[in-house]
Every structure is written in C-alpha cells, then in structure tokens.
Symmetry: C2
Subunit: 284 residues, 2 copies
C-alpha cells in the first residue's frame, strides 16, 4: 500500500495503475475509519482493480461552531485499517495541498442542499460538493463509493456528477449498524456511555416509520408524530428534524408514494447524529 | 473530420484517439467561427495531436434581455471552417443533450466574476464556468484554448481549473484584430457600416492607454479619463466600463504596477462590444 501526500504523487500512482489496465475505485473519507468505511472499501475492491482511499478532514464543510478542531484524526490506526482491508493507495493531503491556491471556486448543487441537514449546516454541502469535485479530478476514479448513512450527501454528489458530466459512477452502499441498530459513525465516539444507549433510539424511530409504511400508513405527519414521540421520550435528545421526503428531489412529501427517504437528525449533548432509511411506498 | 451530437459519441472519439497515444486539444466555441477561432484551432493543432472544437450556444450564459435568440448559428459554414483548419472532431450538442437532466449544479468562481462584464451581465460567468466544466468533463482535453479577447473569461476559467484541480492546461491566445484594430468577434456582424467604423475606437482608446503607460503615466484615473474622452467623442457609443485592473485578481488599481488589464466595454446601438490589452507597468 502506498501512502501519498501530494496531488502530483496521487495522479502518478493512478496513471500508472491505469496504464496497467486497472480500473480505479475511490473511497473519499475524513478518516477515523470504522466498519462503515471498511464496507465501502470492500465494495470498491469487488468492483474495481485499484482502490484509493482519501483521508482529509475538509475544513470547508464545517461551520464555524462545528467540530472541525476536535474531529478525530487517528492517522496511524486509519492506515493500518486501510492496509488490512487491501487498499492500494491512500491519499493524505494537508489542507495547504488542497487549498493552497485559495478557494474562490465553489460547486453548488442548488435546492438539494437546502432542506434537512442543509438547514442546520449552512454551506456544508457546498463544501462537500467542492471537495469531492476536487478529489474526483485528482484521483479520476471509474467508481466512487459513498455510504447511505449520509443520504443527502449521496443524493447531492450523484446529482453533481450527472449535471457536470463527470466521467465516473457513484455507488451508494448500505448503512452499517451496531447490534442495537445505531448507524456506525466517526462521531459516535463523542458519546458518553449513557448517551450511546440513548442514540439507539434514532434507528428505533426509523423502524417505527418502516413498520407504519408496511402497515399501509401513507400520511407523513401521522408517521412523523409517532417518530417524534419516540425521540421525545429519550433524555438528552434534542430533535433537529424528522423528515419524510422524496428520495431524489429531497422535497418533503405529505402523502407517501414511490421511493421516500425517512431521515432524522438529533443532538445528544453536543454530539450531532443523523440516520435514515430508504423506503418504497409503492405507486403514488 | 467527425461531427458528433451526443456526449457518448464524443467520449468514444476522444477515448479512441487517446488509446492511439494522441494528446487532445480543445477549442470550446459558440460557433459563428471567425479568424479568432481559427487562430485557436491552429494553436491547438500545434500543441496537441487531436483537435476537438465544440459549437454550442450556451443558454445559461445569456441574460434574459441578451442576444441568445439572434446569436448567429451558421452551422454549415462553421463545419467547413473546421474542416479546412484541420479539426479532427466537432461536438455539436443540442441544449437537451447538455442540460436534459436539468441544471441544479453550478460552478461559481467568486470575486473574479463580479467586476467588469460581471456587473453588466449578472450570472454570465457562472454560466460560462459551468458549461466549461461540463465540456472539459466530456472532452477530457490535455489543453483547452481560449482567446485573450474575452480576458475576464480566461482569468475565471484558469482559476476554476486550478481551484478544482481539473486535469488540463489552459492556453490563452492573443486577440486577433481587423486592420483598423477592431478585435474580431462574432458580434461584429451585428454592426451597421457606420457603427463598424465607430467600433475601431475601442482599440484606439486602449492604444492611448498603452502609450500613456509607455510614457510613464501610472495614475489610473488620469489614463481612464483620456480613454473616456476618446470614446465619448464617438457618436452612438455608450460606455459600460473603462477599467484598469490587476491582471489576475481583476481588482481595479489606482496606481499601475505589475501586470495590468486595461479593458473597455461599450454598446454601439444595441451591439455590446468588449476589448482589452494586457500591459506590464513594471515593479510596483
């Protein structure tokens, strides 16, 4: 496994792999790797010949009051995880390497970045789209892999790739969960023991949604009020949003039909957690 | 010479050329080709092995009151010019092929798109940057060629390529001029015989600027007032701006130093014309 810090070295590695006829798979991450990331790496190794992981805690997707400073950066452990998972190359640029020339240019996906997390993290998805555009242009993968856990991010990146005719495919992999249902996330390590137990109720609320849809309920507000009841009963949880939206446009639906995204965001103490499920509510 | 209308066919042609070891040169145009475009094609043919020209009157860079509808589209003549100039492939997509999936995603280069033409054409450079990003992703050239005539566009596209780490180089070629100094432009054909004569004064005003700088004048307002005097003496000319700006940041300078861009924009009747010269005003 090669670990490189410069854009030029990264380009060289990919070029060499491609000249040997290999297809390129790419897993962009912010490090603090966990079994969710490993599942993306495994998917990449299955579908492509040469797997690149990037580890970059991107400053432009954090708000001024967010956890950029304290975001975990266990680089040694991350590299060990990559090595064991069979990654071919890890790209670990410094912020100066990525933004040394300044950052006047932004890629913005209108509308899709506004609801859900966009309301609570202004500028976040502009930062995500821009850094992904940069990373895609550096790594030039055939396929890039994202997790369903960050559902809105996945929708936005897919849209950006289509709209800008970027020459790659996006594959979205299922959310990996702890035994009690909690979606695996680098931010789970912020939770105290008590908070960790409470956090399982995010998925419980989403399961309630799934059950109600399976039982034939199509009224969004009815479902959401049941979900809200579950989350409001948990100490220390502060709900940011409970949304049922069209899975592509991310516009909220009143009456469920077709593919919908049920998504929740909460704060437990100072830790922000999100989760979602994709549901097929059948013909509209 | 191949002429293709679909993104897929364009990608196939480039891929085939690249697999034969050829480097790709790209000249994006809105058609109505003239000797300015031909000079770009010649530059591309000199520096690369396989020259692609795109002809696409991009709707998203025209304002609602601008000349999108009447912009000349002499496709047959354009293709003949390309053929004679030795172009390898012409990409002529319909608007639906370029924007069929919608256009939620925008590439915006902040600051650089605000002054000069940006003030008079809001949204123009966002449209230009976005369509160039799309075309670069479709054609995947090694080098793309732009004219110095559209100086602000060239600065913005160069910046976008650097900021987003796009894997290509931008080459900016000198403005091609008529014998009386008028910069060649597809929009010159809008001018009446009289207006055509008046139009030569744009370059006369820029030459005045050049002379003053050569003569040691460094006070921007002094130079601009001389330029204004020249243009104000011409019937039917309405000045939009006369600017002397830093050649990279495009910020107006009070005292000239280093590389500066002297740029003018006027309306003659209903026709909007722009021109500029790059000057080296020496150590600041």
């Amino acid at each position: 496994m090669k670990t490189v810090k410069t854009i030029e070295a990264m380009r060289r590695l990919v070029k060499a792999a491609r000249s040997r006829g290999k297809s390129i798979g790419f897993v962009p991450t912010m490090g603090a790797l966990h079994i969710g990331h490993i599942s993306l790496i495994k998917a990449a190794a299955k579908k492509t010949d040469f797997v690149v992981v990037s580890i970059f805690v991107n400053p432009t997707q954090f708000g001024p009051t967010e956890d950029f400073g304290k975001y975990p950066r266990p680089l040694k452990a991350d590299l060990e995880i990559c090595r064991k998972a069979g990654v071919d190359a890890v790209f670990v640029p410094a912020a100066k390497e990525m933004y040394g020339e300044g950052k006047l240019t932004w890629v913005n996906v209108e509308k899709l970045g506004e609801p859900l997390c966009g309301e609570f993290r202004p500028g976040h998805f502009r930062g995500v789209a821009t850094v992904c555009a940069k990373l895609f242009n550096i790594v030039m993968p055939d396929i890039a892999f994202f997790g369903q856990k960050d559902a809105q991010q996945a929708v936005i990146i897919k849209r950006m790739v289509v709209d800008l005719n970027m020459p790659l495919k996006i594959v979205v992999c299922p959310t990996v969960r702890e035994p009690d249902g909690l979606a695996v996330s680098s931010r789970n390590q912020y939770l105290s023991e008590k908070e960790r137990k409470y956090a399982a109720y995010l998925y419980k609320s989403l399961q309630k949604c799934r059950q109600m849809v399976a039982g034939g309920v199509r009224d969004s507000s009815k479902i959401r009020s049941q979900m809200r009841r579950i989350l409001n009963n948990v100490p220390s949880i502060k709900i940011e949003y409970i949304s049922i939206a069209d899975a592509e446009s991310l516009e909220p639906v009143k009456r469920l039909g077709g593919r919908v995204l049920a998504a929740v965001a909460v704060k437990i103490g100072t830790t922000r957690l999100i989760d979602n499920v994709l549901l097929d509510a059948g013909g509209k």
